[in-house]
């Protein structure tokens, strides 16, 4: 035991424990902070998408139902937040089997098994706004004719069960996850779930009065405020920069930059192609289709945002932008009345985007020499999500219809849900004049 030995040992010891430890701890704190800040800000952006959905849906429907749509959106978010806190999150991310989780109701248990780099509350709020997104997609397809109380019941079910179960399969360590299913930010988990639930809802509800003629021909019911709808699309596009890049759950992950790029290119390509297709088909570039095209591109890229190249993103966007136009028409032709195109945008393009990962993923995609394995898994996922969502949503809507009532009466529908459901008018100064609804005297 010579002095130099001690000196050596000291040096080594100091290196081994002291600074490394301190440093490592500091570094962990710092990277956690970066990740937390990133995930929270992304969650806020995704939250803001609720405003986008409300504006798109209200803008694409008639003025007499604008307040009702707003109410449904706010409740999807508000009631949804509460329900997802109480149940949904536990079912989606709690410890459980391959099909659903069953611990952590009311955020009570530990979620250490997820191995997160961020505090659980940060993860929760990011997931909660995703759940609200899935829920709110449906309100658009069911707009202008749904009983408000009935809609509320449905909203609780989608955020509490339908969506979390699919989420558990894919992101909660469930069976699809184990199969190798790739759905980075939720083309299927969020958007297809919303879209297929919207399909079930629109079918159970039936079309709006005056939408289809006895001879089968279709009437247009133009939305009341295209400018608001456009604002909504801009807000959604903006929020999507939280939705996709945020889904890394890490600001340290340098792929967030490329994800933002693929997201943007796909949206751009979707808008451009939807415009061109509508131009060719209808001789004029259609505003509402172009808006839908941008959304289609966004939905389409969501599954593969982290796994495709910019060229792949443009291709996915072009395909989504083209498909959405035909899908909107086709859905209308089979007399499923979807005033805002939610089924086409979120359901169809969500499924499409999920499948396209099997083609364009640089790691495993058909076009990158990956063979058909991934594509098969993606197809399984798409079918499973559609089957589960359509079945449960259909069931729930039928049950609601038989109990609380799902459809507004035809008098209510004709009069407008704003007045009949909420006793209010959204634009009292305009349709048609000031002071239209003043009270003279209670007794008079």
């Amino acid at each position: 035991m010579t002095k130099w030995y001690w000196c050596f040992m000291l040096t080594v010891t100091l290196f081994t424990f002291f600074p490394k430890q301190a440093l490592a701890q500091d570094l962990v704190e710092i990277t956690t902070a970066i990740n937390t800040v990133w995930v929270l800000l992304a969650a806020f952006l995704v939250f803001f998408m609720q405003a986008g959905f409300a504006m798109v849906e209200a803008g694409f429907t008639r003025a007499k139902n604008a307040g009702n749509i707003v109410m449904k959106n706010i409740m999807d978010l508000a009631a949804g937040s509460i329900v997802y806190w109480a149940f949904g999150f536990a079912i989606m991310f709690g410890v459980g089997n391959g099909f659903f989780g069953s611990s952590g109701f009311f955020l009570s248990d530990s979620f250490a098994h997820l191995g997160l780099d961020i505090p659980t509350p940060a993860f929760w709020i990011f997931q909660a706004v995703f759940a609200a997104t899935a829920a709110t997609i449906v309100s658009g397809a069911m707009a202008e004719r749904t009983n408000f109380a009935g809609y509320l019941c449905y909203s609780v079910f989608i955020t509490g069960i339908i969506y979390p179960v699919v989420g558990h399969w894919t992101w909660g360590g469930g069976w699809l996850d184990q199969l190798g299913f790739v759905d980075f930010a939720g083309s299927s988990v969020v958007h297809s779930v919303g879209g297929w639930a919207a399909l079930a809802g629109a079918i159970v509800l039936g079309p709006r009065i005056g939408k289809y003629n006895e001879d089968g021909s279709i009437n247009a019911i133009p939305g009341h405020n295209l400018l608001m709808a456009a604002l909504g699309v801009f807000i959604l596009w903006f929020g999507w920069f939280g939705f996709n890049p945020g889904s890394t759950l890490s600001g340290m992950d340098s792929s967030i930059a490329m994800i933002a790029v693929t997201t943007n290119l796909s949206a751009a390509a979707g808008a451009v192609l939807a415009m061109i297709v509508s131009w060719l088909k209808y001789r004029k570039p259609d505003v509402s289709m172009t808006l839908n095209g941008a959304l289609a591109g966004l939905v389409g890229i969501t599954a593969g945002a982290a796994d495709v190249t910019p060229v792949g993103a443009v291709m996915i966007g072009l395909l989504s932008g083209c498909v959405v136009v035909y899908a909107v028409e086709m859905i209308d032709k089979i007399h499923v009345d979807d005033p805002v195109g939610a089924i086409a945008v979120h359901g169809v393009c969500g499924a499409l985007g999920t499948l396209l990962v099997g083609l364009f993923a640089t790691d495993g995609g058909v076009f990158y020499g990956g063979g058909l394995a991934l594509l098969r898994v993606q197809a399984i996922g798409v079918v499973a999500v559609a089957a589960w969502t359509l079945t449960t949503a259909f069931l729930i809507f039928k049950i609601i219809d038989a109990t609380v009532g799902l459809r507004a009466s035809s008098e209510e529908e004709v009069e407008g849900l704003d007045i009949t459901e909420h006793g209010s008018t959204s634009y009292p100064d305009f349709v048609p004049l000031y002071g239209k609804s003043f009270k003279i005297k209670k007794t008079s």
Partner: protein, 114 residues
């Protein structure tokens, strides 16, 4: 020539246009109005931010068409068919005399222009 002016429910518009088209009427005009009649807001108490109020004025459409004297009765009959729901608030039809009609495009006058 007579002008037939009727106040109807907004929901009847589509049916009314179809009817008019079948009668091959020359034309018509539609105006958004708010009306006050036997309905008098009965039963329609709304609440805005805690304040109860009666919607005294109902949204209606005023549909005007000028027709030759000979067609008046037919048109009335058809309007009744298209807009009658048998419940309070269906509206009224008023008839009055028009002394002259002129087509701006040609300047021609008389029954021919309507």
């Amino acid at each position: 020539m007579k002008k037939i002016e009727c106040m109807v429910r907004p929901a009847c518009l589509e049916q009314l246009v179809i009817t008019m088209e079948k009668l091959d009427l020359g034309g018509m005009n539609i105006t958004q109005v708010v009306g006050y009649g036997s309905q008098k807001g009965a039963g329609d108490t709304s609440i805005y931010r805690g304040v109860e109020y009666t919607v005294k004025l109902k949204e209606k459409l005023k549909v005007e068409t000028v027709v030759p004297d000979s067609m008046v009765e037919t048109v009335i009959e058809q309007i009744l068919k298209a807009t009658r729901t048998d419940s309070v608030g269906d509206g009224k039809i008023f008839i009055y005399n028009i002394e002259e009609a002129i087509r701006i495009r040609t300047g021609e006058r008389g029954d021919a222009v309507i």
